[in-house]
Amino acid sequence: MYQYSNGKKMRYAMFTLLSAAVSLLWTVQSNAAQVMLTDKAGAPLSNAVLLVDGIPALQSQQYVMDQVDIQFVPRVLVAPVGTLVDFPNSDDVRHHVYSFSSAKPFELRLFKGAEAPPVAFDRAGVVVLGCNIHDSMIGYILVTQSPRFAVSDAQGIVSLPDLPAGNWPVSWWHPSQLEQPPVALGELDLNQAGQVLSLPVSSAKQAPTPVLSPLQQRFKKAAE
């Protein structure tokens, strides 16, 4: 109990730290393209991924799928094909991370801290992550060949730094797509300031809406 509440506090601290870093980035890289993503209802859509093709990739960076407070952090990670992703365990409990996704089925059996070796994602696709002992833990790694990509933050803002001017093929993905590949939006000039992209996602708040069981659906249908 104490530990749990302590973890919550910690998460809150991390979140404020992160947003501070973003705003720092925002102010430093003044040429970054910023697009707001909304759902069908026009509400800011977080954890959505914008992918831009046709332009060279930026410098490769470290891809980490952390586990904090029995949650995958970030919830959605975009990684280029062929990258190694670290699965550090920031919790003081063990996790058993697995994925049965065809893009990369793997299993990291009960590990702690940095015990787990990095996993290489060499095929494009969606990899749904789960923890065998913590059913509530769901994470997504979108393995893509697109050079540029970004995940929308809590405000639905997607920031793509150093995006060359002009129209580029843009596609999007959201956890509600499950293992479906990203959906193309056509060529767009994302550098235009104040752009808002409305995506055909129904629930903006909860990324993975739990699917009703067929029996329940039937029952509901019958009850109606």
Binding site: N132, S213, L215, A222
Partner: protein, 767 residues
């Protein structure tokens, strides 16, 4: 009979009452146990149905957990996520058999049924036909026409990739299990469009009797209390769990109680009936005894003592009845004694005498009946009182004791005297006995403070000579007693003629009172000759009674009767009126005669009598000198003082008075001296045979001289010859009266006679 009825009624009443009470108790207990049994059954049903539901839910929870374990299994998840259907099937079957599921289902992420553990022949997968939530975790499903309890679990890998459902058949096995736990009969009925598809039941009872309605209801015929829980109701399918609580079970628990109650009731009824019989017998038996005793007493049997050895009211009643028995016996013997005996003397009474007489007559015996009484009984009662008389009688009875013949019967009847019955004796014998008895009674004896000698007389009658009837003989003996007189005649024998005379007297006494009314009376006048002058100046008025049937009645007969019966006053009245009327008539016609009439002792005894005479004379305006009155010495002597007083008043009025019938009865010179009379009338018995030298002549001669010496005129009556008349005339008798001069004549005849004989007697004298 009535007692028996009372007893029966007592028994019936008490037994009925008891039956009623016990019946009511029995009924109350019976009903309440029935009610209680039903309530118990109902309660069992409620509890059972709750238990049923909870059990089903618990089972569902259990199954859910088991299913959750399956879907949480990494390998299973992997199999599902990788779409390894064969693995999935084997895992499903494995888990299903582990948890005892009858059907295991797998649905893929798209919700399509991919695997079912049990299938109908000719089909790959089972058909889920209907589904309805039963609880949070459980559903009721209709799969392949069979009802199931179904639990589900979603397979996450980690997103939902499939779904597993485990179903448990609602079958007989479950029903039995539920029955064990709830104690109710369970039945699952699934139907489609109201048509029953399948039934799983723990009881053999008929399906159509089971209602599919929800709620508790009773099935009387089957003896069940049932309720139903609708598990699934999705048209056209429905699944109903029916629960039945057999009433018999609940009732059975009371059977022992009822049986015991019945036994107790019967024992109580028997015992109390026995008691009622005993009690009523204890009441009715003594009542019967008492009734018999009362009947005995009613029959006159007082010999049996009535007693009941009890201390209660019945014992008291028996004592009272016994006291009554003794009292009645005493009083009855007293009454019987009094009925047969005279209370004064203790001798037999007239009733006994009558009885004895009758039986004697009937048995053909002869005998003599005597009645004797004290001569002066009336006087003695008047003078000394009844108690003195009673004492005298008692002492007389005492002195007779043992003197009479043993076979005689002596009785005393108040007002009658002694009655003596002498059987088998002729008259002479009897008279000797009676005379001895009278002599004995006449002995001197001391009564209270007086020594006296009482005089007794007796009447005697013989039977069957004089009669054959006791009443008649008693009457005759009483007449005979009336004929007896003190002295030698103290025993009078009844004779038939005397009886006829007596009857005639009674008749005359009765008719005399009506004689004036019937105008049977008449006045005749007998002339009185004044011997000195040879003239008739006076007449004696005499009464004549001509009875309508018996003819003329002599004055000797009816005057005596009138004096005895008290009619004399009435006769005097009549006479006075007749005489006054005649006098008035004569005076008016210039005939001047002094009329003499006889007055009785009763007239003299009446203080009003002189006054009445005066009024009468005044009313007719007749001078008192025209009237004279003749009174006998003995009449005066009955009440001398008052009589003398009356005579003086009459004398003072100026009415002439004469002493009548002088020489008979008391002839006291002292009395004569005191009487205010002018005339002395010598009785005719002395005058009838006047012959020289006879006793009568001496008496008459000396009487005339005596009277003259006392200053009285002498009247002689009964002159029937010239010799007598002359003799009297020579002896200076003043007035003569008799048949020789004239018979008594009616007024008209007298007037004629006076006319005819005027101067005749003067001629006689001179002749």
């Amino acid at each position: 009979m009535r007692i028996r009825y009372l007893r029966t009624r007592l028994i019936v009443t008490s037994v009925c009452l008891l039956s009623l009470v016990l019946g009511a108790v029995f009924f109350a207990v019976y009903t309440s146990t029935d009610f209680s049994a039903e309530r118990q059954a109902q309660r069992q049903l409620e509890v059972g149905s709750n238990v049923f539901r909870n059990l089903l839910e618990a089972r569902a929870r259990e199954l859910t957990n088991a299913t959750q374990i399956l879907v949480a299994d990494f390998g299973f998840r992997q199999a599902v996520a990788t779409g390894d259907l064969a693995t999935i099937r084997s895992a499903l079957l494995n888990q299903a058999s582990r948890i005892g599921a009858d059907q295991a289902l797998f649905f893929d992420a798209q919700g399509d049924l991919r695997i079912s553990s049990a299938t109908m022949p000719g089909s790959d997968t089972a058909q889920v036909e209907s589904l309805q939530a039963f609880s949070e975790q459980a559903l009721i499903a209709m799969i392949d026409h069979r009802p199931y309890l179904l639990v589900e679990a979603v397979v996450h890998a980690p997103v939902p990739v499939g779904q597993v459902a485990m179903a448990f058949s609602l079958d007989a096995a479950l029903a039995r299990e539920m029955q064990k736990l709830t104690g109710l009969e369970i039945r699952f009925v699934s139907s489609r469009d109201k048509e029953v598809m399948s039934t799983f039941s723990t009881t053999p009872y008929a399906q159509q009797d089971m209602s599919l309605q929800q709620g508790t209801q009773r099935l009387e015929r089957e003896g069940y209390l049932t309720t139903a829980i609708t598990l699934l109701d999705q048209a056209p399918y429905s699944v109903v769990a029916q629960m039945a609580s057999p009433l018999s079970d609940a009732l059975a628990s009371f059977d022992d109680l009822k049986r015991e109650l019945l036994i107790i009731t019967l024992i109580a009824l028997l015992a109390s009936s026995f008691l009622a019989v005993r009690l009523s017998g204890g009441l009715a038996r003594p009542v019967t005894l008492l009734a018999e005793a009362a009947k005995r007493i009613g029959r006159g049997d007082y010999t049996h003592k009535v007693t009941l050895a009890r201390n209660d009211e019945l014992g008291l009643l028996a004592e009272s009845i016994d006291a009554m028995r003794i009292g009645i016996a005493e009083r009855e013997s007293l009454i019987a004694h009094n009925a047969l005996h005279d209370p004064l003397t203790g001798l037999a009474n007239v009733g006994v005498m009558r009885e004895r007489l009758n039986s004697s007559i009937v048995s053909g015996q002869s005998g003599v009946l005597a009645q004797c009484n004290l001569v002066t009984a009336e006087l003695m009662v008047k003078a000394r009182g009844q108690s003195f008389m009673d004492t005298l009688v008692r002492q007389s009875v005492a002195c007779l004791g043992g003197q009479l013949p043993a076979d005689s019967l002596l009785a005393w009847q108040p007002g009658v005297g002694f009655l003596l019955l002498l059987e088998r004796r002729d008259l002479d014998e009897a008279v000797v006995v009676i005379d001895a008895m009278l002599a004995q009674l006449g002995e001197k004896m001391q009564v209270e403070d007086i020594k006296l000698r009482s005089q007794w007389m007796a009447g005697v009658v013989e039977w069957p000579l004089q009669g054959r009837d006791a009443g008649e003989l008693l009457r005759q003996v009483s007449i005979a007693l009336g004929d007896a007189a003190p002295g030698p005649e103290r025993i009078a024998v009844y004779q038939a003629q005397r009886d006829q005379a007596y009857q005639r007297r009674i008749r005359l006494a009765r008719d005399l009172r009506y004689a004036p009314e019937y105008k049977e009376l008449a006045v005749v006048f007998q002339p009185k000759l004044d011997l000195a002058s040879g003239e008739v100046r006076q007449v004696e008025a005499l009464m004549r009674w001509t009875h309508s049937e018996l003819g003329p009645i002599t004055p000797d007969e009816f005057i005596v009767l009138a004096e005895q019966t008290g009619s004399i006053g009435m006769l005097t009245q009549w006479m006075m009126a007749a005489v006054a009327s005649q006098l008035r008539n004569w005076i008016d016609r210039g005939i001047h005669l002094q009329v003499a009439m006889n007055i009785s002792a009763r007239d003299l005894d009446d203080p009003q009598f002189p006054q009445r005479i005066e009024h009468l004379l005044r009313a007719q305006q007749i001078s008192p000198e025209y009237l004279s009155m003749e009174v006998t010495e003995s009449a005066v002597m009955i009440n001398p003082e008052r009589s003398l007083n009356s005579l003086r008043v009459l004398r003072d009025l100026g009415i002439a008075l004469a002493v009548d019938d002088y020489g008979t009865g008391y002839s006291s010179l002292a009395t004569l001296k005191s009487l205010p009379v002018q005339d002395l009338k010598i009785d005719k018995s002395f005058v009838l045979q006047l012959a020289e030298g006879s006793d009568d002549a001496v008496i008459v001669k000396s009487t005339i001289e005596l009277a003259h010496n006392m200053g009285l005129k002498v009247i002689a009556e009964g002159i029937e010859s010239i010799d007598s008349l002359n003799w009297l005339k020579e002896r200076h008798c003043d007035v003569a009266q008799g048949y020789f001069i004239s018979r008594p004549l009616a007024a008209a005849a007298l007037e004629q006679w006076l006319e005819d004989t005027r101067g005749t007697f003067g001629v006689v004298e001179s002749a």
